[in-house]
Amino acid sequence: MFKLIRRNLLRNKRRTILTVLSIAIALILLSFLDLLLAAMSGVNSANANRLVVRHAISLTFSMPAAYEQRLAALEHVEGITIMNWFQGRYIDDRPENFFPRFGTDPDTFPDVFPELALSPGEIDAWRAERTAFIAGRALAEEKGWEIGDVITVEGDIYPVDIELTLRGVFTHPTDEAAERVLYFDWQYVEEALGNPGQINSFYVLLDSPDNMNETIAQAEAMFENSPDQVRAETEAAFFLSFLEMMGNIQFLFSAIGLAVIASIFFITVNTMAMASRERTTEVAVLRTLGFTRSRVLAIVLFESLAVGVLGAAIGLAVMPVVTGAISSVLATQGITFSELRLDDRTPTLVMGIGVFLGLAAGLVPALQAMNMKIVDGLRRVA
């Protein structure tokens, strides 16, 4: 029986190949959208043990620097550092020159971000010099920076131009987007501004993820009656809030995904219909030879299933190349997401849709073949 299916698929090789390829492409697109959505939420690089504290009104409001000590005194806090979004302009406004530039505290930063690998020598060099900065490997390679290079960032949010010297290059074990960031000593800007003592956000490392909710409640309650109330949330929730602000992008992507599925569905149905129309006589002959109705049904369904599964398999095989190519193109446009990695979910999703497509598309031709009267089939000339 399987030989028969194989033969049938190979009968019109070109048609089978074209259909399989269009399924593969559509599935690549689908899972790319899925990955993009996951990557945009930044969940890949969020540390389950860290929380972010910011002003309750919105990110454009800042908190007094003195909050750091009070937060550090909370029971489960192991480490805390400051994070100020400097933004600014590096060289020009072109998107490829836009990357996150944060002012932080080199004394506490390495403890709160243990996953960012820096050598002890680099950490010391960063701490020793007010104008030193560190950059992720991906960013440094892209810009061609070497240790000791000096760059200038023109201030826009803050009316200060800063001149920074590269003293360290860090890596992130899994997330390339986390390597496209620059960190410098906020004290540099603080002094230039006349020490206003205002902080955008605090990153807090806890002793255990189990104490997350308790600490969030404590942190928010601590400043409940202060003029500057705070909002504390997990790092993952913090990243997700950026995605939420992008509006109904999730809905948009799902709508696109549905249309893509609808499109390949019709393509596959069409192929299966064409294939079965050609073989009406043949099916009748099979029946005459003693193949049962359910056998015939199975043959046509399996054939269609094979097309769907084959498309999904090819899609999965090619996907790393395609997503890699797309994300490197996006990166040059200044759009960097967490690395688009194929997680465990992707193969399941792709295969699932492949199987569904194959079965759904083969159903009508299969039922037709099954219910056909032998005499009709023999009479019809293909």
Partner: protein, 387 residues
């Protein structure tokens, strides 16, 4: 030459097959048009916000109102500049405004960054297209606000008469304004000084808008502002300011749309190829007959390419038709320059629909080319035998 009618009829012979191919390509068009309509809608909203005789002034170095702040004194200096137009009472047409972001909850529980714009009366004089659709304007000193038409029903508590905590004070919604399709429709407006007090940011403005005597005087006014020794600001005309915001945000949709169109286009292209191969195979006798009658290979090629084009046009038309109801749908995205949410309506403009039809036609023609080529190249004897 063979009449086009021949192609259309030929496509009709295998109705089911042709129809399914058309539908599959039409879905590609639907997606492409949908994404482009998002970009177009966003562009319309930003374009409607820009007035070509208005100059917007920000702190030097700032890219958007969100990053900008300067003392109210700077605004007074700006308003008194000779290049600024004056109203009937001799008052300068100038508006100092504050911009604040506030996290608000949407109806579905997710969160958004809403823009609170603190204004004085001048804000309305400079934007005559903004008018109250329901209720009335806010009265300074009464902690009242008005909301843009795009916000109504989108964000939890915002409707006429509702009260909402913004900063230290509780404000009452007393009006909903018609934003004329502009990006101001996503904003909450209230008295500048009240917002300043509520958020403890007194005596500052984020931006000043100045009306020049005429669009032709805009350049001179910008020159005058930037050469002033008293103040450290940057000035540009409003259309340029909004153009930059629009490019960044709608560019994302354009790129996404193109990426999807290219990938899905390949898939649809294969579908078209399948259909056209089937057409060619089913009509080998016919092709042979045409050849015997003296039609040349080139003509056969053009017949099938044309047929594919007809297929593509039909798919494009269907896709565009399916996409038409998207027009006017409300959507929201981040304004990447101010990090606030801007809400707008999808626009299926003729440009956008045309691009969709073009993509469908191209897809079908590319997909149909190789089958057409094989039809034109096959020897007559083979064709006759095959049929």
């Amino acid at each position: 030459m063979i009449p086009v009618k021949y192609n259309v009829r030929s496509l009709f012979v295998r109705k089911a097959n042709t129809l399914m191919t058309i539908v599959s390509i039409a879905f590609v068009v639907l997606v492409y048009v949908g994404v482009l309509a998002l970009g177009a809608g966003l562009r319309v909203a930003f374009t409607a916000s820009g007035d070509n005789s208005t100059v917007i002034v920000l702190r030097d170095g700032a890219n958007s109102e969100m990053e900008s702040y300067f003392p109210t004194e700077t605004h007074r200096i700006l308003a008194s500049m000779p290049g600024v137009a004056r109203d009937a009472d001799g008052e300068p047409l100038a508006s100092g405004e504050t911009m604040t972001l506030q996290i608000l909850e949407r109806l579905d529980g997710s969160e958004t960054n809403a823009v609170l714009r603190g204004v004085e009366d001048g804000a309305f004089d400079l934007r005559p297209y903004i008018r109250i659709a329901e209720g009335r304007r806010f009265v300074p000193g009464q902690t009242e606000i008005i909301i843009g038409d795009q916000l109504e029903g989108e964000v939890g508590d915002l409707e006429l008469g509702s009260a909402i905590d913004l900063g230290r004070f509780t404000f009452t919604v007393v009006g909903i304004f018609d934003s004329g399709g502009s990006s101001y429709g996503s904003e909450i407006w209230g008295n500048a000084q009240e917002f300043g007090d509520s958020f403890r940011r007194q005596n500052y403005y984020s931006s000043t808008r100045l009306m020049a005597e005429s669009p032709a005087q805009v350049e001179a006014l910008i020159e005058e502002i930037e050469s002033s020794q008293q103040i450290n600001v940057t000035a540009q005309d409003e259309p340029a300011y909004f153009e930059a915001q629009s490019n960044i945000s709608s560019g994302v949709f354009l790129r996404l749309g193109n990426l999807i169109a290219i990938m899905m286009g390949f898939g649809a292209c294969f579908a078209a190829a399948n259909t056209m191969y089937a057409q060619v195979a089913a009509r080998s006798k016919e092709i042979a007959t045409l050849r015997v009658l003296g039609f040349r290979r080139r003509t056969i090629l053009s017949v099938f390419v044309l047929e594919a084009a007809v297929l593509g046009l039909a798919a494009g038309a269907l896709g565009a038709l399916l996409a038409l109801p998207l027009n006017g749908l409300s959507a929201g995205t981040t304004n990447f320059m101010t990090f606030s949410e801007v809400r707008f309506m999808l626009r299926t403009t003729p440009d956008v629909l045309g691009a969709g039809v073009l993509v469908a036609t191209l897809t079908a023609v590319v997909g149909g080319f190789f089958p057409a080529l094989s039809a034109s190249r096959a020897p007559i004897t083979t064709l006759l035998r095959e049929g």
